[in-house]
Amino acid sequence: MRILLVEDNRDLAHGMARTLTDAGHAVDATADGIEADDILAIQEYDLVILDLTLPGMDGLEVLANLRRRKVTTPVLVLTARAGVEDRVAGLDTGADDYMTKPFDLAELAAGVRALARRSYAAKGPEIAHGPLSFDSAGRTVTLNGRRLDMPRREMGLLEILLLNAGRVVSKEQIAARLFSFEQEASLSAVELYVHRLRRKLEPAGISIRTIRGLGYLLEEP
């Protein structure tokens, strides 16, 4: 994946670039807001990691310019400012996710992975999860290289779990996704589909955990 890293603290930028490169991404780095804005105007990336306090141009402005150009590249915002989380999360800044400094590299990796998955799903290629591979465009599921037959609802369930792997998905969220408005969105039906999906995936070591009172979580491979 091609990532633009915009961060003006050299030590932090170095550490992050190193980690992302090790994870197999191609990383361009800049420490200046204006330069970032220029680069983004000509070059397309799969992901932008953007610090908010930048020399030259404020991070939020860079982000606003990007969205004004109708570029939908996912943006992960970094901030050390207290209270900014709320603004980034609450206001329509166009950011896809945010992270408060200081964070550890595992957190960064998880954030990048989640955004990558979302951006890939939008473009249509496969989502890989351990021995499982899901083609969201062709609507096919392969487990250990063998095609797995799956009804439409179960496939929808698998997709929402895959897109949120490692995070809790509530029954209500699943129901809203699986059933259209006219259909009775019953939570026990969700339980039934989870039960069926589990039976198919558990032999391959993929586990869907039930989280008391909260929903389900597909464990990271």
Partner: protein, 463 residues
Amino acid sequence: MTWRNHSLRRRLLVWLLGPLLAVCGGITLESYFSSWEFVNRAHDRTLLGSALAIAERVVVVDGDLEIDLPYVALEMLGSDGQDRVYYRVDGPDGAFITGYRDLPSSAAVIGGAFGPVFFDAEYRGEDVRVAALSRDITTRSLSGRFAVHVAETAAERNLMTRELLYRMATRLLILTAIASLIAWYGVGRGLVPLEELQRAIRRRSDHDLRPFSQEVPGEVRHLVGAINDLMARLGNSIASMQRFISDASHQLRTPLAAIRTQTEVALRERDPEAMREALERLRRITAQTSRLANQLLTLARAAPEAGRVEKPAVLDLAALTRKVAGDWVPAALERGIDLGFEGPDRPVRVYGNALMLRELAGNLVDNALKYCPSGARVTARVAQDGAAAVLEVDDDGPGISAGEQDRVFERFYRIVGSPADGCGLGLAIVREIAMGHGGTVTLTDGSQGKGLLVRVSLPALSD
């Protein structure tokens, strides 16, 4: 400028002058009317005397009424020469006998009443006062009733009453002016202690929060007491902030020293395995320090002395807690802890700051995960209990002994021998936030008979 911030002097003068002028006006009017009455009464007596004198001189000559006008009778009137005198005598059946035929007459007296009757009228363009009476006369040749009218112009009378009025009004105006001057001066004198107090307040340095001891009038003693009270509270809050800053810097110093030491150790190491170990320690220390910095920031924002920046809103505590618990599930799974949520399907509404309440819930869950061993069960629970919105985090971990339950709310307090790498701020933050939302925090044993249950009770909004 509204009435409330007009100067005391002005307010007092308005309060004094308004009613005083009204009362003086009343007194003046009253004395005008009564002096008018007195003057008239004296005047009327003289007029009556003249009228009686005239009546006595009415005689019957050859069957007709005739009058031998006594000049003395008229001389009694108009003695100062300013006023003119008129008279008129009418016989039985209203037949005019002598005098001024067109002098205004009293219908009652002409009609036969004896009188005397006094009245004001206008004659020849002047105000006149008229006395009227009638008498019976009986002779062999004639028997009947005649009427006498005597009038005098009222110039003298009017002048006198006007004079009385002016004198009275002048006296009252002087009284009012003197009262105002006294009030003006008195207020100035009364405010002197306040001006001294003001100078004392201005002279004070920023650091001197001792109470003010200036002598002030009783009315403002409470104000000075309130100011002194505020100073004392300010002093406490500044002292507690200074304590907090000094505590915080000490708390930051220790891990920074550890980081330096470990860095130097790592740089000196030749053995890659030992270097790795030192780096691993470094990673752990910095993670802890980051957390400490975050917690300090949160506390600084939650503490009442920081003042509120974020606007409160109506929130669903159940949804907020469910979200926070969900966010912590991956961390719980990593530690082998079963983290769950229990709450009603309908919203539990509170009025508060979402960021702060998320922080509160997160700290409670984080604490439970930190102190509970693998295999433990932690439940975040939200319920509405009457007027209270209750948020509980219930675990079956080691719990907190009764002796330490009070102390754990203190900033930087850590339970001796606890294995977790906390910074001792979690529960202090929880309590600050709960108190900032008008709520309370209580600790009890966990519902499983062991462990800890932290209950945060906030005022709920009714539907």
